[in-house]
Subunit: 258 residues, 6 copies
């Protein structure tokens, strides 16, 4: 099965290493082709609702472009799933959010999961997402390591230690049995955290959200499944749009949704 | 008490009659000044998540402008509350959503309310909002009259009749005891619907969302209350933004959140 | 708008200072007239279900009297909302409970609120109210300061300090972002608590329940809204009542509900 | 085991036949003694929150009297459980509500139960009780036969037929598998309804609330269990009470709660 | 009323003292006859889902045998209720689970209960049971004393102390007001724990699950109630079964369900 | 990536065609090897809790055998997920249930799904599974086509028509936007049903549970994830087991869980 999955990173910071960190997945699925794009307009990182509002139009545009290019699946590379519903209304190509997908996969593996994220300020955002996805009762807790997205790479040893400490609290106090990394910027840390926890006697899966969403995209691709058009009715592209020039031009070239 | 409430209509269609329909409120509160603005960029009407994604940046911009002008309260004039959380992260001035406010007021008046809205396609959007606002169990049902926003004024008699029919189903089958008009474009119809229902023997309050949000804004203004800064932590405006020129310029002039 | 709001204090202790503490509200709304009454029969304070059972008949009587007098809105001055449903069945005049109203307003302002109340023994009562009002998932926690209602005025400095300590726990441990004072006897303390929290770096709204209910009564008055007759069907006053002489006499003078 | 259970009927209508209809229970438990009392003050029947407010003080008084007399268990003979929490705060003797007890027993026997009651107007009251008792998700539906309490005995054949029709809807449309009679005035009808359903091919238990509460009282008596004092802290009888002369006099004779 | 209740202990360890510890119940109900059986095949104790899978077929067999013998009620003697649903599909005789029955009785007595059990490893199992029984919101917490089932009798003084410590945490931190012993092997400890708590000032009922289920069986027997055949449709015994020789032979002798 | 997934069909009926119907999956993943086994002991089909109780021990045995053989992933081929938790306690190899996996994947694709199953009698079983998996609020409804498992192949045209009719009701009345086939015996029907719905204008994904579970097993395999050992603590195989000879012998050969 040949499958082209597009990763849409919903901010304007260049991240050259993203595909490099996913070689195990492309190794596992020989027919899998990954490509990824960032945004032209929007914030440099997504750490709240303001940032999400500014990146959602760009996410929609990138999804329409991907659909035009004939991409098979699209993954939004952020735990807040910014623009997810709007993008799903805009294209027939299957769009997955890293958060929605990963929380449901985590829910399959145990009774309760905890999410370990960057900043305390995104707690509410993540809790709202869990609520909307129907998973409130599977969410044991949200914990933050107090490291902004743009500083994730500064000291990975300290960061892993901080994640380990929060995971311990989640397991022992909140009765979590599964750990979800709550930021797609944590790519590459799940193995380290998993090892540290195993060494300390904690036998819990650790889910990396981008990797989980990509593997799920492959799985859905093999099943021929996409998000439900009934659940996300096609946006009425006939209505005029002011501003958003490049997006409007894209839309003028014809419908993406059937 | 002098209070200036700004109505932010999150689309680009001019609606000259909005303030005209609210004279009863300004009559009731002599110190109340209403002003309203639309958007420069975005859709002509808001009927789904795609539309919401395109209007949210403009809503944020209008709220920052209102805060600069010293407005006391801001009301977002749409039942999807687009941009609500982002705007709350952006200004200290109290921002209210028509949906959130009206659903909670409806919840105070009875046991279960139903929402009567424009199109079947916004059902999920409204149900998600009720869920996020903690009111899932107070929502009896959502019904649509199958009239797009831009055609609301075409035949108000037929529209009122359609609303009446949906209200009857909501009351008799879904056990709703309170009716919420599910589109701020229905302004002016609540009285008619209320009369029609009363004549038919149904004694239920009918809430107009824009009017309810404005009266609540007055009430909160008198109490000196605003949305919780703890719940909506200030956006980090120090981070660079690409695109969104006029919004970025506004932000470069200094923080709006304390 | 001229509006007469009657405050019904559901106990038999005289509290001369109540209206004095509400001058800011009457100042804010020049057409607002406040009046308040206590009960002839019942407990000296309301701190549990036994007290509520003894004050509910008196609350109903006071509401019928208020409706007879042509009062526009009625507010029950107690966080347990004793007699609320019974009163709503008895009069067409809008009756609001301090608890129901304030919890919904708190829910509009943030994600989760905590209630700070007098005695541990009313925890269950308040939790049940939140549950019945559909707000269980918005309630972060209930904390008590261990001060009986009748001793609230004894040492306001110590009381404010105790409220501050409980608020800190609510914010830091229970993730509350909005604080509700859980007794209408705390009137006058919200400003103090709010200042103390702000000085300590906690940016959370603090809601005084009586004040919030009164401002909401004004708001509902301007909208012409009342509690739903469908939700609270008129009591069948034709049925004979034994005992409750003054209430029975009132009822014999004709129906208050339409 | 000798056990004296007091039935407190929370209204002022004399019902001479009550004990007569319970002879099967006293036959089943030779040591069981039943006694029952009505109220001196209150409504003639309980069909709403107004009625409940007027009967609750009398229920409390009857429970204190029963405790004085050394009764072992008390059952409140009404599906609204009026005064239940207040009575539990007032006496150490175990007080059971017909509604709370019967809904939990129904929940033990199947997946979902429906409640068939007298009038549509008590639907909200019963739904609130199910919610407060933690059983919202076990309640399939509430249906009313539109017969006031005082007319239950007028035409038992028609009433049974009406209950049968509602039960059919509950089973076939609402997926109820257990039927709860939603009024203690239906005493004697459970057998008839059960037979009619069985003949029609519906194999569902039919619970009579008074009978179920009494049998549960026997069961709890044999276990030495009572309602939790921690959950229902003792009312502070030291506080003065105005009015309610006979109740106040009772209280002046000493505490009933340990 | 003569009633024969069969206790089915779902493991293969002989426990001669079981009936000896229940003499108070047979004393309370002169017509009550208790009998009990263990299993021929299965684990020596039930401490997880693996154990439950191995004992469920034996539980079903014992229930069919009991029905053949004309037993009136059956109680499964384990807090995981292994085989409960399967047994109910297999016989018309009323089958009760110790867990389901006791949690509902606990729910009648207070606002929230905690379950004190043997090993941390059964936490999820008990939480799932509470969820399935509709009681998630009444369950304050689960605590374990870290004593395997087969070591319960080793040091009852230490065990009671451990239960007391967990009960204290449940009451003070989790706001439990009712305590459920979370293993039927704790038979005989409820009185001790109850006394210890009372002496320490904690006024909470302590429920022994086997005793509670048996007393409820008596109560249901007097009411003529059984589990709902509609909820647990008869297993289709016509289908061939491979293996399970003695069970298959039993089934070949004719249907037990009507 | 080479991956061996074992399908465990939890009954004793031979089904030679199973792998034949999955060639698209093995075609999509060249490294994927599927194998499948049935049971030696148990029922001929699984249509209720009795059947589940009889097949669970066999499922556990087959999972231990698969782990011994070095299989990479195990999928239980039944919508009731019989033996899932017990199997997870028994092996380190990842065990997936067709129901749990498919419901979570369905939840990723839309707002609400309905399950279309064989017989009305499994409704409760499926609803309980959805509840336990945390997905109660995503489940719009369960509908049955009234065809026993062993008759699925008798008339596939009539069966597809029946599924289509139930799907229409689910979409139009229950607001489902995603359809889950509620029996793994429906293998091969999802495409037909999907086509029929699309032709009739219903744009909803249709999920085949076995296929969905297998594709998810591949996805989890590529991620190196397994069910959480913390959530499903290892069964204590040291305890003696009576009966279940072949299973006991397997266990005597050493632990499968680390």
């Amino acid at each position: 099965m040949n499958l082209h999955v597009r990763i849409v990173t919903p901010h304007t910071t260049a991240r050259p290493s993203k595909l490099a960190g996913l070689e195990d997945l492309t190794g596992a699925f020989p027919g899998l082709r990954l490509s990824h794009v960032g945004l032209d307009a929007g914030p440099v990182s997504v750490e709240g609702s303001f940032d999400e509002a500014l990146c959602a139009p760009g996410v929609v545009q990138r999804c329409i472009e991907a659909a035009r290019e004939g991409v098979d699946q699209i993954v939004i590379d952020c735990m807040g799933d910014p623009g997810l519903e709007a993008a799903r209304e805009s294209v027939s190509t299957c769009v997955l959010g890293s958060c929605e997908t990963t929380l449901h996969v985590a829910a399959m593996l145990g009774h309760k999961f905890s999410v370990l994220t960057v900043l305390e300020r995104v707690r509410n955002l993540l809790e709202r997402r869990a609520l909307v996805y129907g998973l409130r009762d599977k969410l044991a807790s949200v914990h933050a390591v107090d490291v902004p997205v743009l500083e994730i790479g500064v000291d990975e040893v300290a960061l892993t230690r901080a994640l380990f400490e929060r995971a311990k609290v989640a397991i022992e106090q909140d009765h979590a049995d599964t750990i979800v990394l709550g930021c797609t910027g944590f790519l590459g840390l799940s193995q380290r955290l998993s090892s540290a926890l195993r060494e300390a006697g904690y036998a819990v899966p650790v889910l990396d959200p981008l990797r989980t969403a990509l593997a799920t995209a492959v799985s859905l691709g093999s099943l021929g499944l996409t998000h439900s058009p009934q659940a996300f009715p096609s946006a009425s592209f006939g209505k005029p749009i002011r501003g958003f020039a490049s997006l409007a031009q894209l839309l003028s070239q014809g419908a993406q949704r059937t």
